[in-house]
Symmetry: C2
Subunit: 272 residues, 2 copies
């Protein structure tokens, strides 16, 4: 390969960093790949950091030492995030989303990659201090959101199954109360999915009474993992008292009027 | 904002393109955002294309005209993809993955973002000519793989539910035969999820007899959508005859010996 010009090399380096957010890439690996000395690489990294900072796209962090390296941390401005969440609220209030029973149809948005990708980056920023080793969710609709949060943190996702028919080796199950129907249900996890002592961030799409999130907490405790936070895309204003106290929601659903097809939903002001 | 230097601007532009693969960004939007003339932007795009081509990371495509713009198409070399799939095969052969019943535990890999992200990009490349409007899968374990394929194509994912308890408005259900247990099961889709005439690419993690994939085909037909391809991560060598003929697999599982904890699995040579 002919020696790359600086601009081409910086582009390729930026692409590698951005393709895997939060992952710590070793300097030596990049020096080898791009055939440059460490001093040159440091200058390239500084240029990437400047561009990313200047346009409010996040940050580039370098970690010194033998186990060190460089990583990209996606983070837009609070203003950009606010605008994104406002637009999402507006889409969720579209009249045709109201379905019989006063539910909201939102699978289209929850399964649109660039929407959940952005939400995952917002969760990463808001939970940055909690340093999770794993993201935990329960099937089905929360999986894309949780996966994109896991992507933003560069950690694996663990997905609990509803019911106890797990065919993935020995499993651990708990019973939980669904908030809406007040039914007792079961959720399960393969025992090997979550090691004891792991730091776990719970992510789900929707919280009403908080039964699912509480169930996920119990499941994590059952295997000796430590819950370091709970994030949901949407919480309902009623009931005000949830089954768990400490959670962070991005949007709040005030009311759905099935007759008039009117929904009230808005971003929650960042509580920190 | 002070006017950015060229290098900083190119980095920010590359990041925007790479953050949303295959999405066509309009030139005028970028001209506005980066405060440059179209001629300058074209030079920047060319530099990004050069860097991405030179290091075998994909391509940058420009589309002329009023509805035109620029997009990033992720694609690694056949050699890189081959090495990635070989490493994945080796991990899947780890003895501790063999679980009672001769199943393979692979949820950890299927829920690791950077693994499924790479697989999604491989599927995008192999199905580039099929131009899907939607990716279709069935819950649960195939969702991350299908979501990352949807991300690579910049299209929404649609997820069928097992059973018929869909609470998302009117739905369409079909019965299908599970290949392994020869049971009749049901899968459902909200009627509004997939418009008639849509081009649909089916993605799933595992194919044995092909019952699930066949069911997804039937479900797509039921709403008048057109299946343009079927991709699975792993197919089994037995049974050789599947319930659908036309599919593409990345890996083939030859055998699992539960007693000896031996698995034989390898990449399929690209069949085109």
């Amino acid at each position: 390969m002919t020696k790359a010009k600086r601009l081409e090399r910086v582009v390729a380096l930026a692409l590698e960093l951005v393709s895997r957010p939060t992952h710590l890439f070793s300097f030596s690996r990049f020096c080898e790949k791009f055939d440059v000395a460490k001093s040159t690489l440091s200058e390239d990294v500084q240029a990437i950091k400047n561009g990313i900072n200047l346009f409010g796209l996040g940050d580039v962090e370098t970690v010194a030492g033998a186990a060190g390296g460089v990583r990209f941390l996606p983070a837009r401005s609070a203003e950009d995030d606010g605008a994104f969440l406002l637009t999402l609220s507006e889409r969720l209030m579209e009249p045709e989303r109201v379905i019989p029973g006063g539910f909201l149809y939102m699978s289209d948005l929850l399964f649109t990659p660039h929407v959940v990708s952005r939400l995952g980056e917002i969760f990463r920023q808001r939970f940055a201090d909690s340093r999770p080793d794993y993201i935990l969710t329960v099937e089905t609709k929360g999986i894309p959101l949780a996966l994109m949060t896991a992507r933003a943190f560069d950690v694996p996702l663990v997905t609990a199954r509803r019911g106890s028919r797990v065919t993935e080796g020995s499993s651990v199950s708990i019973n939980y109360v669904t908030g809406s129907a007040k039914r007792i249900e079961t959720m399960s996890l393969p025992r090997r999915a979550l090691p004891a002592g792991a730091r776990v961030l719970i992510i789900d799409d929707f919280m009403k009474a908080g039964g699912s999130a509480k169930g996920l907490c119990d499941l994590a405790s059952e295997v000796g993992a430590k819950v370091v936070g709970t994030g949901v895309l949407i919480t309902t204003s009623e009931p005000a008292g949830k089954m768990l106290e400490d959670y962070l929601a991005l949007l709040v659903l005030e009311a759905v009027d099935e007759q008039k097809r009117l929904t009230r939903i808005h971003p929650l002001v960042r509580n920190e």
